[in-house]
């Protein structure tokens, strides 16, 4: 393994990569390119342009300027002692990606890919979105850089997330409801690939997570690793030591790879990815791909996925739309198999308990995606005990989740309800209300986090 030197925020180079993927995009047996031949030329073009760009001082200066002046980087690290009282005596630090422009880590990646689009001379970008966050981020970058933008979104999500559709349209993007297959995020990805293969002369596909065919997993990791590069330096500076564990939620896995990468060479630092356990991994309603899935090929790469005995993709379920994806980035599968990172499921109920707790104890409303990582910290803190130092990636803010939370906790017109941490989160939705899962299915987030 190649070790990386600790980088500083704003430093004008992308740090050295870990010893993977190989030149053809393989993370051990995972990754690669399982795509129609028609896309190979575009993927080669993208790979070549990206490899040149990532060492180009002019690009790096522009990328650093945008991260600082537009996104608001570096994002701070916040200690949350009152939340930590529920974490077995461990101390908890949050990396505040929720404070970025557009409200999550997604902007880190789309700015890089939008710059790359301009560099290869294409005028149009397309993106998939489960319920809005990556779509909004892509529409934002497209508006900033004068690119035309089309976002594919499952038809059900466009209906439930009318506000996000309006946000994207305000930013000048075209939003196309996807009516094929299961009409979910995975079908939005299929549709975006179909658009790309048809319009590849003019169009670049801005992929939202560390999945997909090479070079997307490595490229998106490079754009997201600023999270961990900053956090590692910030924790060292304030604590004089590294954290005992780094925690992040995992859907597709971009925020987790973003914070893990800087710590991969630090053998003493545990890396813990929290998957969406939905109703529980012993039920059929979850999105815990590594915990409950098996290796296969989906959306252009080999990785763990949820599939049936015929190799058909199984629909995932999570209260968090951003984690509601039946695949996962190939680097996570690799980190799992080599034992460098561990992956655990967090149920909807556990995530919502952590969600409420952070709201009430610290005055921070997290994305429900990120609440899965917080729930992981509550458990791991109990295991590690007093004195342990946990770094949690707060990948996004929860403004978008207010309606889901309101339904989950039975707020809204029921004034007498106390949404405190002790609330029984297993309660059934009130009569006539949309069920928790239905309400959640359309929520935006650090989707495919």
């Amino acid at each position: 393994m190649t070790t990386t030197s600790p980088p500083q925020p704003g430093e004008l180079s992308l740090p050295a990569r870990p010893g993977w993927p190989d030149a053809t995009g393989h993370f051990g047996v995972f990754g690669g390119r399982f795509v129609p031949e028609a896309l190979v030329a575009a993927l080669d073009e993208l790979t070549e342009a990206y490899e040149a760009m990532r060492v180009d001082p002019a690009f790096l200066a522009e990328f650093a300027r945008l991260q600082r002046d537009y996104t608001g980087r570096p994002s701070p690290v916040t200690e949350v002692p009152k939340f930590a009282e529920h974490c077995g005596g461990a101390r908890v630090l949050l990396k505040r990606e929720d404070l970025n422009h557009t409200g999550s880590h997604k902007i880190n990646n789309v700015l890089g890919q939008a710059l790359l689009t301009k560099r290869i001379g294409k005028s149009r970008v397309i993106a998939e979105t489960g319920a809005g966050q990556h779509g909004v981020a892509t529409a934002t970058a497209a508006a900033l850089m004068g690119l035309s933008c089309t976002v594919y979104m499952g038809e059900e999500d466009t209906r439930r997330q009318a506000l996000n559709v309006a946000r994207m349209r305000l930013l000048g993007a075209e939003v196309i409801p996807v009516t094929t297959g299961s009409r979910t995020l995975k079908d939005a990805i299929n549709e975006a690939f179909r658009d790309w293969v048809t319009n590849v002369e003019t169009t670049n596909y801005v992929f939202g997570t560390v999945a997909g065919p090479h070079p997307f997993p490595a490229m998106v990791r490079d754009f997201q690793r600023v999270i961990g590069d900053e956090a590692r330096a910030q924790v060292l500076e304030r604590e004089g030591r590294l954290p005992d564990a780094v925690l992040a939620c995992v859907g597709g896995g971009s925020n987790a790879i973003g914070i893990f990468t800087a710590f991969v060479p630090d053998d003493g630092v545990r890396l813990l990815g929290l998957e969406a356990g939905g109703d529980g991994v012993d039920t059929e309603r979850h999105a815990a791909t590594i915990t409950g899935g098996s290796p296969g090929v989906l959306h252009g790469a080999r990785s763990y996925l949820l599939q049936d005995e015929h190799g058909q993709t199984i629909e995932s379920h999570s209260i968090s739309a951003g984690l509601d994806y039946p695949g996962v980035g190939p680097e996570h599968s690799y980190l799992h198999d080599i034992g460098r990172a561990e992956y655990r499921p967090v149920t909807d109920a556990e995530a919502m308990e952590a969600f409420a707790l952070l709201c009430r104890t610290e005055g921070i409303i997290p994305a429900i995606e990120s609440a899965h990582a917080l729930a992981g910290a509550m458990k791991l803190g109990q295991e590690l005990g007093t004195g342990a130092l946990l770094l949690v990636n707060l990948s996004g803010r929860g403004d978008k989740d207010v309606e889901t939370a309101s339904r989950w906790f039975g707020l809204g017109d029921r004034e007498e309800v106390d949404p405190g941490p002790g609330l029984d989160t297993d309660q059934q939705p009130t009569e006539g209300a949309v069920s928790n899962h239905e309400a959640a299915a359309g929520q935006e987030a650090g989707e495919q986090a």
Partner: protein, 266 residues
Amino acid sequence: MSALAQRIEAAKAQGRAALIAYLPVGYPDVDGSIAAMVAAVEAGADVIEVGVPYSDPGMDGPVIQEAVDVAVRAGVGMRDVLRAVGAVADAGAVPVVMSYWNPIERYGVDRFAADLAAAGGAGAITPDLIPDEAEEWIAASDRAGLDRVFLVAPSSTDARLAATAAASRGFVYAASTMGVTGTRATVGDAAEVLVARTRQAAPDRHVCVGLGVSNGDQAAEVAAFADGVIVGSAYVRELLEGRGAAGVRALTEDLAGGVRRAGARA
């Protein structure tokens, strides 16, 4: 010689291109799809692409996706596919499986190769498996004596055309346009250019053209420059619109007339 190449040679000996029909197993149901395949064979199709239903068919347009969605929901699997392969072989055409990679990987690559060969299948077309990722399939298909058909596209470089054709056995599948499956008003010049480029890169390979052909006139146009004409969405549309085996038969007769009208290639 491979079973596919042999059948294409036989068509060529008759001064025509081969007619290759795609039909997905399980639409409208397994028996109905097999009946449609047999009807196509009886009406003049040389090769049947026996389609494996898949939940995420990224290279297919809305027509084929609509049909395979039904088959996926019905739980159609490789056992049904192998039954269709046997029926096509019994009817006298060459069956070749068309499958995205994950259903084959899930079934087991060696097991798939052995079972396909035992059922009388000639090999497999793999639209999302490029030779770069195909080491296991190349080894398994060699062991089982199966053909393997990879795709080339207008965007392929000359180097990739040569490498992809070299890895292929049976024929090379030339995707006529940049896009997904579906019927088109015109097939376009890109297909002819691609066939010529592929032949130049690999003079000893047969090149068949797919994507966009839906009637006898288009088949004649493509047959003038290709070794085989592949038709998919137009067949599936016959089934989606309820015309069943009779519709498949009529379409095949039109297409079979087309591949003969083109006359012998110079």
